[in-house]
């Protein structure tokens, strides 16, 4: 808070990584491959002015491959695997000088065959993008990675629950559908920005990141350093939504700073944002069987997940897409195969929802197809099969604290679904929280209150405010007396990362431990840590996918102009099970923000590619929702229960919005299987009706 008591984000005084400065700092610019797949034969920096520093292949020979789930990335690409892959870099006294120097570097390439679609990338004869990446699978942390050597599959996730052959034999009705989702841009308003500074053998990175400790680990691996010699400071971000995770610019900027012998900072241009990290495109095939009375008996899900040129956290996304696609239902026989597949598109990674949007779209649209085949209500079909407390999910875990039916009923009620299902659509979902994970927090008394140190990173989701409110409540002081500094790996206790809508829940629990410790030990300082064990066997999908489930629903009511294909969403309603709301305004903003992003996903957001080149890499051609895109009625609710724990909800009501809209169109006989539901696709579906 500023001296006047107004949040610096309102006064404009807030500083982000994009504003970071150090004395003597230079600016970076990047040389990027124009080819989607090409060997770098020669990099000629002879025309770079003498007062600039060029980072060339020879400068990074000593650096090692890195990556959070597969070690398939190099600091400079020796083989460019996507348009925009960085093959050289420069540092110069000003951004303009750096850009000019980068343009002066000439690169010779030998083009290689490229592939731009996940299904094509696993067909016979597809070019092999990472012949040796499979070697590092055993080093991945917090997930068992299963590459298929000799293919472009960097991870395959399976669920085998019951026996689907038996299940389908028992089904009276079977439907099968195929769905597609495109790549999308996180489009945070603040671009990626990183400042690197060396002091002897110690590196300090000031960077917009949601994953400070993971970043420290991967940088240490790349530079062959001890983790203690890498310091990551994470200022608040001007938005992220998953874009600012793991290593993005940090290794490049650190290498430039090492060569330049001075601090170096990089801030991406908006066009560069579109070749840095995007959302996983997916092709998903669903086969669903039920008895005549609507009881679900068997489900098969096949997901081809396009992770782009480098795996990043694609294995994790494919895993989550796979189990979220089962849906919050009791199904005795389930087979899921989700493949994270390399292609020559820019890398895809964590994107709000983390794979759930894609498989919820496919799964919930198929439920409506099944309801149609059974001539039953989509609402009643779901109600009949929803998981209840004590039921086993397809991973074998027993469900507890279950609220799916409440969420679904609230969504249906809001749009008057039961009274008038025509022009309306529903979606109910389950989404997991990163498991296993660990969160630690410390509390120290100060002359005016307390300082609480947590590695949870602020990106607008309001985690700092939630921690402040929970600490004030537990310590018995005013929120204004609680200081929550920026995450700093030198002084913040360890946290897995700020993703997966886990931070309020996990830090709240850790805080309770820390306050207990503080009170038991003289009241000056306390430390608390919580560890969630679990995870899934990647070969069977059995285990604990999530120690605590994110539960929600959405409903939409719309009309369609059948001449133009334009969809007019009249009402969208989102429901999130919140358990206990810590910061009400903050929780409302998360619901609203998730739903607005869901509207963009549903109706118009897609990155367009031509031979791997992004053709809409700007905010004029790639549209994010503006105020005029909101439907007339845009409502949501947070379901709470006395005595409940806070439930994460930073993502929950994004995935159900596209499915609810798609199901509303389906109720009108307009059957769209590919996102976004553009007027062209709607018209084509009307033609097919």
């Amino acid at each position: 808070m500023s001296a006047a008591g107004i949040d610096p984000r309102l006064t404009g005084a807030q500083r982000y990584a994009a504003h970071a400065e150090r004395p003597g700092m230079w600016h970076a610019a990047f040389v990027r491959s124009p080819h989607a797949h090409a060997r770098v034969d020669r990099v000629d920096a002879s025309a770079v002015p003498a007062d600039c520093v060029a980072l060339l292949p020879g400068d990074v020979e000593d650096l090692r491959r890195y990556g959070c789930q597969a070690r398939d990335q190099r600091v400079l690409a020796d083989v460019a695997r996507h348009v925009g892959d960085v093959v050289a870099a420069v540092a110069a006294p000003t951004p303009a000088a750096a850009a000019a120097a980068a343009r002066a570097i000439e690169v010779d390439y030998t083009e290689l065959p490229a592939v731009f679609d996940a299904v094509e990338a696993v067909a016979p004869g597809a070019p092999l993008l990472h012949p040796t990446a499979a070697e590092s699978a055993h080093e991945a942390v917090s997930i068992g990675v299963r590459p298929l050597p000799g293919t472009n599959v960097c991870h395959r996730f399976r669920i085998r629950h019951g026996d689907v052959a038996t299940g389908f034999a028992d089904a009276d009705v079977v439907v099968q559908r195929e769905f597609r989702t495109p790549s999308a841009a996180h489009a945070p308003m603040e671009p990626h920005a990183t400042l690197a500074e060396w002091d002897g053998g110690r590196l300090t990175l000031t960077t917009g990141t949601q994953t400070p400790f993971n970043l420290r680990t991967d940088i240490a691996v790349a530079f062959g350093m001890a983790e203690e010699d890498v310091r990551v400071i994470a200022p608040p971000m001007g938005g992220s939504f998953g874009a600012k995770t793991f290593v993005r610019l940090e290794a490049l900027v650190a290498a430039l700073a090492r060569k330049a012998g001075r601090p170096v900072k990089a801030t991406l241009e908006r066009t560069e944002e579109f070749v840095t990290l995007n959302r996983h495109p997916a092709t998903i095939r669903v086969r669903l069987g039920a008895r005549r009375d609507g009881t679900l008996v068997a489900k098969e899900l096949d997901c081809w997940v396009d992770t782009g040129a480098y795996a990043d956290c694609g294995p994790g996304v494919a895993t989550k897409m796979g189990y979220a696609g089962v849906g919050p239902y009791r199904i005795p026989h389930v087979r899921v195969d989700a493949l994270a597949i390399y292609t020559n598109l820019p890398p895809n990674g964590a994107f709000r929802g983390y794979g759930a949007m894609q498989s919820v779209w496919a799964s919930e649209r198929t439920m409506d197809a099944l309801a149609e085949a059974l001539d039953t209500s989509p609402l009643e079909l779901r109600r009949k099969n929803l998981l209840r407390d004590g039921d086993a999910f397809a991973t074998g875990e027993v469900m507890h604290d279950v609220h799916f039916e409440e969420c679904l009923d609230a969504a249906a009620r809001a749009v008057g679904y039961a009274e008038n299902p025509r022009g309306a659509g529903l979606c109910v979902l389950l989404k997991g929280m990163q498991t296993p994970s660990r969160a630690a927090i410390s509390v120290e008394r100060t002359p005016i209150g307390y300082v609480v140190r947590s590695a949870s990173c602020e990106m607008g989701q309001g985690v700092r405010e939630s921690i402040r409110l929970m600490a004030a409540e537990q310590l018995g002081c005013e929120p204004g007396q609680v200081e929550v500094p920026d995450p700093d790996t030198d002084t913040s206790p360890y946290d897995t990362r700020t993703t997966s809508s886990r931070s309020t829940h996990m830090m709240g629990r850790a805080l309770a431990e820390a306050v207990r410790d503080l009170r038991a030990n003289g009241g000056e300082r306390g430390y608390g840590e919580v560890v969630n064990e679990g995870g899934l066997d990647p070969d069977t999908g059995q285990g604990v996918a999530s120690t605590h489930w994110h539960q929600g629903a959405a409903a939409a009511r719309l009309s369609v102009d059948e001449e133009t294909g334009r969809v007019a969403v009249e009402h969208v309603h989102g429901v999130a099970y919140a358990g206990r709301v810590v910061d009400r305004a903050g929780a409302e903003l998360q619901n609203e923000g998730s739903m607005i992003m869901g509207l963009g996903t549903a109706l118009f957001e897609a990155i367009d590619f031509a031979s791997g080149q992004v053709t809409n890499a700007n905010f004029s051609d790639y549209n994010v929702p503006s105020v005029g895109d909101l439907p007339t009625r845009f409502t949501h609710e947070l379901i709470e229960r006395d005595g409940a724990e806070p439930h994460g909800l930073g993502e929950t009501v994004l995935p159900p919005v596209p499915a609810a809209i798609g199901n509303a169109l389906h109720s009108l006989g307009i059957d769209v299987h590919e996102l976004p539901m553009t007027p062209e696709r709607v018209l084509e579906a009307i033609d097919r009706r």
Partner: protein
């Protein structure tokens, strides 16, 4: 070239290239509230007021601002009714776009003290918020409008 303007009420002498945009000059003067974001003038995050009119700092030539009054959010006091309304409505998340919205809203209410929902939507159409604060921003506009009309 050399020129002068009034920045947040105080005279400013500045130097710039003829082809340079106003945003660069303002950032050199320490106004970090106007932010380079889309590079095309479509997102509104670099919005500043020139003689009370919202413009994209990234598309306005620094020379065009010569002799004019330029307002950034650094020049808006905490007691300003629009700023207070945004605070009360919690009309922000990450805050990157917020200064641009604040200035656009001040200009809207100066010109139209009682905008209806359609007029609010049209006035704010040039400011993007990826965090999705539009509902609370519209709430803040209506609250500020009531406050300003009540005080008048």
């Amino acid at each position: 070239m050399k020129a002068h303007l009034i920045l947040n009420g105080r005279p400013l002498q500045y130097e710039c290239e003829p082809t340079e945009m106003l945003l660069g000059v303002l950032q050199r003067e320490g106004c970090t509230s106007a932010r380079a974001t889309c590079g095309l003038g479509v997102c509104g995050a670099c919005t500043v007021l020139v003689d009370g009119v919202p413009v994209s700092g990234c598309l306005t030539l620094a020379a065009q601002a010569a002799g004019r009054e330029v307002t950034t959010s650094e020049g808006v006091p905490g007691s300003d009714p629009v700023m207070q309304a945004f605070a009360a409505a919690r009309a922000f998340q990450c805050g990157w776009c917020t200064p641009g919205f604040l200035l656009t809203v001040r200009a809207l209410l100066d010109e139209n003290p009682d905008p209806d929902d359609a007029e609010i939507a049209e006035a704010l159409g040039g400011n993007l918020c990826r965090c999705g604060c539009y509902v609370k921003i519209a709430d803040a506009v209506r609250a500020a409008s009531r406050e300003l009309r009540g005080a008048a």
